[in-house]
Amino acid sequence: MKKYLSIIMVGVLLLLTLTNCTPKEVPSDDTSKETTSQSASSSTASQDKEKTELVLWMPPFGTEDALDKSFWEDNLSDFATQNNVELTVEIVPWGNYEEKYLTGITSGSGPDVGYMYIEMISDFINMGAIEPLDSYITQEDRENYLYLDKGFIQGQQYTLPIIVGNARILVGNMDLLNDAGITEVPTTWDELIATGKILREKTPDIIPFAQPWGEPAIGALNSLYYPYLWQAGGEIFTDDASKLALDSPEALEATQFLYDLRFKHDIISENAMSYTNNDVIALLNDEKVALTVIDCTNAAKLGDQGINWDFVPFLTNKSGGTFVAADALIMTSNSDNKELAAKLMKTMTSGDIMTKFHHELAMFPPVAKDEEYNDHAEFKDMYANNAADLRTLPAVAGSFKAYDSLYKNLQLMMMGELSPEEALSYSVEYSENVLSN
């Protein structure tokens, strides 16, 4: 009897184990942060034959995810009604952003329309995950959109730029500068050095020029390095994108400039190696930093903190130059509703919705002619008059590892462990190996 009981118990255990291996169906009306599977979408479509499902993934721009989600749901409700669409909006946090897309697309739970930044787009194009938009862009669209060229990659129109802005600018706390007898934010490399030295001498408790070398993400290079590279006349990648183009005299000049700010002129302190972007902004708000390079969005908030600030778009050496974000909407290749997805993308970037987006969520310059300028007034002239010097990153597949290596080597250089020449040569060599793989 005991024997038979034991066998029955083992059998039940086995059965339970195998039963739990059955994949579960995700409820079709789930609009929480969990992704909905495409198979659930198609089962929903079969249940409700009239409505087509579209899934939209956007990052957060408002102060909380719920704000972004409700914004897009409210403003796209007309589109959904007119096109008989059941639109699911999911807000994807910036942390692990690429991972979310990779696993989502692979598992069939990815979006129809998503938001990507330039560093990740080429890799997904090469994986066949992004659909070209050429057949969906009309002549009227080409005349309306201002930055379609930024989405023209590998000979096709892969993206529809939705955010082009948030330039990295040189910001100065005018009260601190005035205390040291300085009346203007420096505009050239030499002026920055001279200003930094005066600040060191006259206001030793103030950080002359703060840089967030402790920021973990490679995006920190957008304010830490690329502006100076472009100002020296250099480029990030070679024309054929086979390696970093940092084995040039221009790149060495830019790198040496940063190295000298740290070790020769003592304008960047050792503590900068531990600063993140948030640390620098906090120090700026506490009026402990005289000069720093930050993005326009955070710069515009300084006035609210009672900071008397001014800015220049960029320093000038051989030329000007600073980073500007160019993020875009994409359509995934495995979208079942490409026509509607394209229509959704155009609706999102229409003048009406972009105006509301720039008023309610985040202020950026217009991406099309059918929208007025709705960014902060202080940056209007900068975007209008300096377009040629507002640079975006090149779309290069496999660039993450190259950027990562560059950033790590530059950090080692700023810690005094590598010379500028070594930092650049190691980065170029590594990029050659990685990009050839």
């Binding site: 990779l102 402790g214 790590k408 700023m414 793989n437």
Partner: protein, 290 residues
Amino acid sequence: MKNQQKQALYGYLYIAPSLILISIFSLIPILMTLYFSFTDYNIIQAPTFTGLKNYIRMLGDPFVVSSMKNTFIFTLFVVPTQTILSMVIASVLAHKFQNKLGGFIKSSLFIPVISSTILVGTLWSFLLATDTGIINTFLALIGLDKVNWLGTKFTSLLSVCLVSIWKNVGYFLVIFYAGIMEIPKMLYESGQVDGANKYQQFWYITMPMLKPITFLVVTLGTIWSFQIFDLVYVMTGGGPGRSTITLVMTIYNTAFKEFSMGYASTISLLLLVFIVIISSIQKLLFKDNY
């Protein structure tokens, strides 16, 4: 014979559920990882066989070399420190503080264990901030210079090690405490009769009796140390430079930022080999007399 075969069959049936689970969630993924390590694979497209290309690349990859070095240094510092610390504290609590205060201390030391690593890392990042952190504020108050805890090569890795020890010591303390409570008191009484002081009792009685538990603690500590990721990810992101990048972090970046699952699989196997070798050595070292 027939009876023995029946017994064996029942044994296999009993372990079948666990065997199936281990096969599905451990063995098969390891075999798949082995296969993918010989391919160029980005998850979205089918893998392309590339032979030993990933292994050759790994040998000269400065990220892998740095992360291996950091992981070993981390393990060599953290495991002995947390083992000895937890053993000593457990011994003191077991012999001197078997009261409410001892219970409070044990509970307090266990709170970091059950706290989220992300939360712990974020909190300590604030505490260790160079200009605004409480630690440096305290140091300044007592007349010492501020330390750039997360901004130099040496102090950043040291900071991560110390936070990891702080987080884990409570867990191993509880294990050692339970083990110490199981040691027959007559051994200590005999030791006292023979004239052994408390340090000799600890060395000649407590430590040998705790050998199986020490083996468990060291093995667990080693495996966890080799798998360190989230604490480093939050506190330093692997920087500054490559000062704190670990093997698991390199695997994560390779898989999910570089989209090279094949190469990430290769590095994962390297990690597996290290853990197996070190666990085997530990088993040999702890083999005698238990």
